[in-house]
């Protein structure tokens, strides 16, 4: 067994210390991320990595740097995992495990550690990416602002939507916080599925801004649509004209539309930021609308390791020496 495989297998046993996720929620997200690091996917990676690559971790999705870091280490590069300030516990644990197995991974909260990196991978806003590109040039591989939606054409798909939303408590660009559907009976089933998911993977504490945004959107739904609550879950129904890709935690918005074309048209000026779509039908229409990934509900939050992120073949970018 290679050092990389021993490191990968050891990741599952790390204690999880993740702000704003429940222990079960953190375990769900972590196991999903580690599960993706299969031998088969690793074998498909080609080309050497840059000598030293920095990966900037987000505040919202603690596992986001892991597939990048794993790819760099697999291909023999050095990796620097820059964690958000005050949130480096997981990165430090992963790096310590790597060092035990002789793999060159450093975890840090300091951006100064990025100075010597030939390549820097960051998931940041479009504006920040543009600003960083000025100083970092082609050293930067940036993944900008994205959101995900679900296109529900069968009520049974709500279980998968609930699982996708449970991962990272609805945070990040792979959480389908907006649900479009032509079906009249989705909301009761969805709120029940969300409630069951919350029983299995309890929701962690909201951040302050999520709390404020959640209350704001509930008021909007009260005024323009409907709020449906279960014990541990909430769904907001809004007319398509009120669509905005906001994401206050696990509570999705449902927009009732006639067909997929109305759903796509509803995206309006936000279409350019569309990322993943959880759907079992109309895949071509969603790709034409700009979706970077269209997969079945329940798998949106579990991307394949050898896949693409926001339409970018990120491993190729990482491995470019």
């Amino acid at each position: 067994m290679t050092p990389w495989a021993r490191w990968r297998d050891g990741l599952r046993a790390l204690p999880l210390d993740v702000p704003h996720l429940s222990p079960a929620g953190a375990r769900l997200a972590w196991d999903d991320a580690v599960d993706a690091l299969t031998d088969a996917a690793a074998e498909s990676l080609r080309g050497p990595a840059a000598r030293r690559t920095g990966v900037v971790g987000p505040t919202t999705v603690f596992t986001a740097p892991l597939p990048f870091v794993a790819g760099i280490l697999w291909r023999g590069g050095e990796a620097v995992w820059k964690a958000p300030r005050g949130q480096s516990a997981m990165a430090v644990a992963v790096a310590k495990l790597a060092q035990i197995h002789g793999l060159p991974l450093v975890a840090t909260e300091s951006r100064d550690a990025l100075i010597g990196c030939e390549r820097i991978i960051a998931t940041v806003s479009d504006a920040t990416a543009a600003e960083l590109a000025g100083s970092l040039g082609d050293r930067l591989v940036a993944f900008g602002h994205r959101y995900a939606v679900a296109w529900v054409t069968d009520v049974g798909e709500v279980e998968g939507i609930a699982r996708d939303l449970a991962s990272h408590d609805g945070r990040g660009c792979m959480a389908p916080t907006t649900v479009f559907t032509p079906l009249p009976n989705v909301v009761p089933a969805l709120v029940e599925a969300l409630d069951r998911a919350a029983a299995r993977w309890p929701q962690g504490p909201l951040t302050d801004v999520e709390g404020a945004r959640h209350r704001e959107r509930a008021l909007l739904a009260q005024a323009l649509g409907r709020v449906t609550r279960a014990r541990r879950a909430e769904v907001h129904e809004l007319p398509p004209s009120a669509f905005e890709p906001d994401r206050p935690g696990r509570h999705p918005v449902v927009h009732h539309v006639r067909d997929v074309h109305e759903a796509v048209a509803t995206l309006g000026p936000y279409a350019r930021w569309l990322g993943g779509v959880a759907a079992t039908r109309d895949e071509a229409t969603w790709h034409k609308a700009g979706a970077t990934r269209v997969v079945a509900p329940g798998t949106l939050s579990r991307p394949r390791w050898d896949g693409r992120h926001d339409g970018v073949a990120w491993l190729e970018a990482v491995l470019r020496g």
């Binding site: 940041v124 504490p205 302050d208 801004v209 709390g211 008021l219 890709p245 000026p269």
Partner: protein, 329 residues
């Protein structure tokens, strides 16, 4: 008298009493409850809220400022004759504060400025858009209302040459009104000293911008290089009709018709005076808009004052705009 005119008269009586240092003919809570009831007959969001009356200002339901982008908040509908727009950057549509007219808020703002500010020069120089060209700026409207003849020096860029000329040719003290962002842009250039007796007013933060400017350092630098006799800070926002005033440091003083409440961001529960939280304001001059609003600002509030600490962390960042500020700083 129609219901609006009646309410305006009642609020004006309260404002005038406060300006005279007396108790109003009605309590703050009675007026706030009356405004809530009036607005609930027409405002699409307020009509879904609990019915008053409310024993405490903190209990008056507040409309989040974000909803001004998404709904015609208030009593005027879409065709209101006065429309002030927010400059926020989080969506394609601005928030809109709609009013039938500005007479009440102009009267209250003038009265409060006169008692709150040091001797106010009659000539103004504004690093703001000309309200004749941009009638949707509540800040430009406020400055044009409060001060005498004013020259305007913000278009697509800051008019640095015009500013220099306006300051260097001035033969009397100036009232210089600016946002923090425009002030920083001005100070990036060589700047003249202001005439003796001048007052510098700085307002606004850096919403949606990179936070690479420390506000205290900015004011210190402005005081050193522009040499105004006084520096004052103003706290207001498009969705409010009233504002707070402060010196270079410390809390903002609020007029009697404007109250601040800090609440829990998670559930909106009011926190005791002096405890940190998300800021709400109950503004009796908001007759046409929303009597109470909830901001994305964080701070500490008490009777007659509010201290601003900044924005809720992440308030300007959405979705995958993850560690943006963290990385750039």
């Amino acid at each position: 008298m129609n219901p609006r005119d009646s309410l305006v008269a009642r609020v004006r009586a309260f404002v005038d009493a406060d300006l005279a240092g007396k108790a109003g003919p009605e309590s703050f809570e009675v007026l706030a409850s009356a405004l809530h009831a009036y607005q609930a007959t027409m405002c699409p969001i307020r009509k879904t809220m609990p019915v008053g009356p409310f024993a405490r200002a903190a209990d008056v339901p507040a409309v989040p400022t974000g909803l001004f982008r998404r709904l015609p908040v208030g009593t005027c509908g879409l065709d209101a004759p006065v429309q002030f727009h927010t400059s926020g950057t989080t969506g394609p549509k601005p928030g809109v504060h709609r009013l039938w007219d500005t007479a009440l808020l102009d009267h209250a703002a003038r009265g409060d400025a006169l008692r709150s500010l040091p001797a106010v020069p009659r000539r103004g120089v504004a690093l703001l858009r000309d309200p004749a060209k941009d009638p949707h700026s509540s800040l430009s409207h406020m400055v044009s209302t409060l001060f005498g003849e004013t020259s305007w020096h913000l278009g697509s860029d800051l008019d640095v040459l015009g500013l220099r000329r306006a300051v260097e040719t001035a033969s009397e003290p100036l009232f210089v009104a600016t946002t923090g962002f425009s002030l920083a842009a001005w100070l990036a250039e060589p700047v003249p000293h202001l005439p003796s007796g001048s007052v510098l007013m700085v307002t606004g933060g850096f919403k949606g911008r990179m936070l690479n400017i420390d506000p205290d350092r900015l004011l210190d630098e402005a005081a050193k290089r522009l040499r105004p006799d006084h520096v004052v800070r103003e706290y207001g926002m498009t969705e409010l009709s009233s504002m707070g005033w402060s010196g270079t440091r410390g809390p903002y003083r609020l007029p009697g018709w404007l109250r601040a409440v800090a609440v829990s961001p998670l559930d909106g529960t009011p926190r005791p005076d002096g405890e940190r939280g998300q800021l709400r304001f109950v503004d009796l001059c908001n007759v046409d808009g929303s009597v109470a609003i909830e901001t994305m600002d964080v701070g500490v509030a008490g009777p007659g004052w509010v201290e601003l600490e900044g924005r809720l962390p992440g308030a300007e960042l959405r979705g995958c705009s993850l560690a943006a500020e963290d990385l750039v700083r």
